[in-house]
Point group: C2
Chain length 250, copies 2
Amino acid sequence: MRGMDLRVAITSVQRQAAEKLRAAILAGVFRPGDRLVEADLCAKLGVSRPSVREALRSLEAEGLVTIIPNRGPQIPVLTWTQAAEIYRVREMLEGEAATLCAKHATQADIEQMRVALDLFGKAVRGADSALRLSATADFYGIMQKAAGNSLIDELLRRLMARINFLRAQSMSRRDRAQSSLREMRVILEAIERGDSEGARRAAALHVKAAANAARAVLGGEDVMQEKLRGPEKKARAASSKKNRPARASR
Amino acid sequence: MRGMDLRVAITSVQRQAAEKLRAAILAGVFRPGDRLVEADLCAKLGVSRPSVREALRSLEAEGLVTIIPNRGPQIPVLTWTQAAEIYRVREMLEGEAATLCAKHATQADIEQMRVALDLFGKAVRGADSALRLSATADFYGIMQKAAGNSLIDELLRRLMARINFLRAQSMSRRDRAQSSLREMRVILEAIERGDSEGARRAAALHVKAAANAARAVLGGEDVMQEKLRGPEKKARAASSKKNRPARASR
DNA sequence: ATCCTGGAGATTGTCAGACAATCTGTCAAT
DNA sequence: ATTGACAGATTGTCTGACAATCTCCAGGAT
């Protein structure tokens, strides 16, 4: 093979740290509002503070954590307004990706998407939430790669990361997962018949539906702040037990 | 005034460093392909290496610099493919911003945009490139603020930063600047009459024209790599002469 | 009893210095 | 001319330190 990639994966500690943290956040290890104490992260990741801090700067620029001066990093709490903005942009970008995919996808691409979609269908029927997430990720991953615009791919990936928390919550509702499956089928059908504008519309519709489901979870107006900040105090008491057992005397 | 913002600007060294660097890159102090040596930046910014490194991480995530492991940060060299992707996304986002602006803009917003556009016209006639840049920035700044979607605003700002170099080059051509002025007038007119779809079309058209002008500068295919990497070697000899004494003098 | 005021502890922001790993360019040897 | 080794420059990472700031709790004043 002429174009085989022989490069050894060369990476650095803080890059790995950033990756681990990103994965942890996406996996829901931390919840919105949680503070990330540098010292703890050092211990958990097994690296020094400078590396952790650099990793955190990267994540901050990606919007995955918010760093408040003199207070430190924490998982951002989304308001509904912010979430709505993300969904709106996602709608445009995903629509474009679907259009591009309908134009450029090879038979192999389409075949892969079909496999991913079948897998998703199985996950929905079996209520397997982990498989559901990975199957959708696959489906979109293939679509975006086939679309051939790497910027859209990257932007979408970051936006998805930011609303990951919401997606997990709204997807856990069975009916939403099933509608989602139907909508994705429509997208794929349009791509199969090379209907680029149809694919765009279908993708946009799908995101709109997802946004509606998310709004239901979030409560329409920006009440979410209270919804999530209410439990925070209780959570802090619990987590302080975990973080500094020595002082749990009270 | 009830809502007056009394907060003192609380910020940190590395945030300021990041800002300074960002501004320097946008101002064209560094050219694509230039390496940013940490020690030099420390000297120029007057801060320590950890702060510089954290600032660089932020800029990396924003796409303003590329950090190659064991080689360090450098200003990314855009290929035409990448630039085209950016213009495509910019077209969508700016179209949406124009639409939203047409829907939500107040009379005051429109008035401000008109002022900025007049200023831009004056800059074009007077061949004042600095004023040209600030006037366009104003025009779009007002438009995006009036649109009321802060995510689009932020994404556009970052994308613009990445193609800043191209914009400066293609805008320096008088005819392009004049077409630009005409196109922006059309956008504003659509906004004034509340024609949201017209505003979207006009904005998209404007970005398409800008992309064409940029392609002319960049040479259509990805030849740019050579174009910019050629002078790099000569530049390095000169810059090392320039960079080294700074170390000795302090 | 409630509110204000210190202070103690925790955490972040920043720096200096050090050292290994890696890259780059030069120069000699084949 | 290509290869190989060496020296210098630069990055990646860690340690330790200290000031600035925040948070929470206790004690005192009203």
